[in-house]
């Protein structure tokens, strides 16, 4: 005996469970101001280091090169360039998406870093492609990354 085999774990007695691994993430001082700028003023901002002359996007409180406190914020504009991209055919749970979604890292001129977002209005993306952020109407904005609906190709 005892060598009976089962291949489906659900054919044995089993317990179903749900791990309540909730989390609450606070955006922090710089993150909060960044999203409020998008919500209230429709501006994508970067934080500039006066010593290194680097503009960080998304903005942070301190320069990661020289640790200087960053107090000067600059508008980097809504236009950027696709630095790299990927096409997703499944969602976060692994279910097949009806329509593939293009996700890209978008860099802004003169800025260090970039934003990861969806590319809309096209099914083709290319490295180096110029794109522009399409913001939701002010009333629909919630101070979240989704206040930018997607980035639209300019070509």
């Amino acid at each position: 005996m005892s060598l009976e085999k089962i291949t489906n774990p659900l054919s044995a007695r089993h317990w179903m469970g749900d791990m309540e691994a909730d989390y609450v993430y606070t955006l922090g001082v710089a993150g909060e101001r960044f999203f409020k700028e998008i919500k209230e003023n429709g501006r994508i901002m970067g934080a500039k280091c006066p010593l290194c002359n680097i503009v960080f996007v998304p903005p942070r409180m301190y320069c990661e090169k020289c640790f200087e406190k960053l107090e000067e914020w600059v508008d980097v504009g809504r236009k950027g360039v696709i630095h790299t991209f990927t096409i997703a055919t499944i969602d976060v749970d692994g279910s097949k998406l009806k329509k593939p979604v293009i996700f890209a890292l978008i860099k802004f001129e003169g800025a260090h870093g970039g934003l990861i977002h969806k590319i809309g209005k096209t099914d083709k993306a290319r490295i180096g492609m110029k794109v522009e952020a399409i913001l939701r109407p002010p009333k629909e904005r919630k101070a979240s990354i989704n206040d930018i609906e997607y980035f639209k190709p300019l070509e």
Binding site: R13, H14, G17, E20, A21, T26
Partner: protein, 174 residues
């Protein structure tokens, strides 16, 4: 904190600030579902509980009677090769008295949890369960004889809770 530094820069946040929406937050619950399989031996053990029996596995090589049952003898490194019933009586091997509930709230009546060496099983083989029908937790002693108190058969579901608790076994006076 260093003697020279009186205040660190940064924002102090309390749970209340987050609950009241003073700061922006992202809330998320991952779909972390799981199915835990009881395996061959424990599945049968639980099915037998439904019938009011406690079943063990045996190993003919070392002669041990193992409960809870397992399909592999950890002493002989081989599959176990028999099933046998053990009694629903036993002796307390070790116990713990908890004045805290599972959610860490204070309890007036403590929960007594014990490892019970079951009669008919090899030495040191037993199950963990609650001790009930004890007026004062100080009455509980190591080696105390106990007996399972079962739920009525129609209420049993094939779970360890088919045994409500173990109660002290009053020894018959000669």
């Amino acid at each position: 904190m260093s003697a020279k530094i009186k205040n660190y820069s940064g924002e102090v946040l309390e749970t209340k600030d987050i609950k009241d929406g003073k700061v922006l937050t992202e809330k998320f619950r991952p779909k972390a579902k799981f199915a835990w399989s009881a395996g061959i031996a424990i599945s049968r053990f639980l099915d037998e509980l439904k019938n009011g029996n406690i079943i063990a596995t045996t190993c003919s090589k070392c002669g041990r009677v193992m409960v809870p049952p397992r399909i592999y003898c950890e002493k002989c490194y081989g599959p176990t090769d028999g099933w046998t019933y053990v009694k629903d009586t036993g002796a307390i091997n070790t116990y713990s008295v908890s004045f805290l509930a599972a959610d860490a709230t204070r309890l007036k009546e403590p929960i007594i949890v014990a490892i019970i060496n079951l009669d008919g099983a090899s030495e040191g083989m037993g199950i963990i369960h609650r001790i009930g029908e004890v007026e004062n937790w100080k009455e509980v002693k190591f080696g105390m004889k106990v007996k399972a108190v079962w739920k009525p058969s129609q209420q049993r579901t094939g779970a360890i809770t088919d045994i409500k608790y173990f109660k002290p076994l009053k020894e018959e006076k000669p």
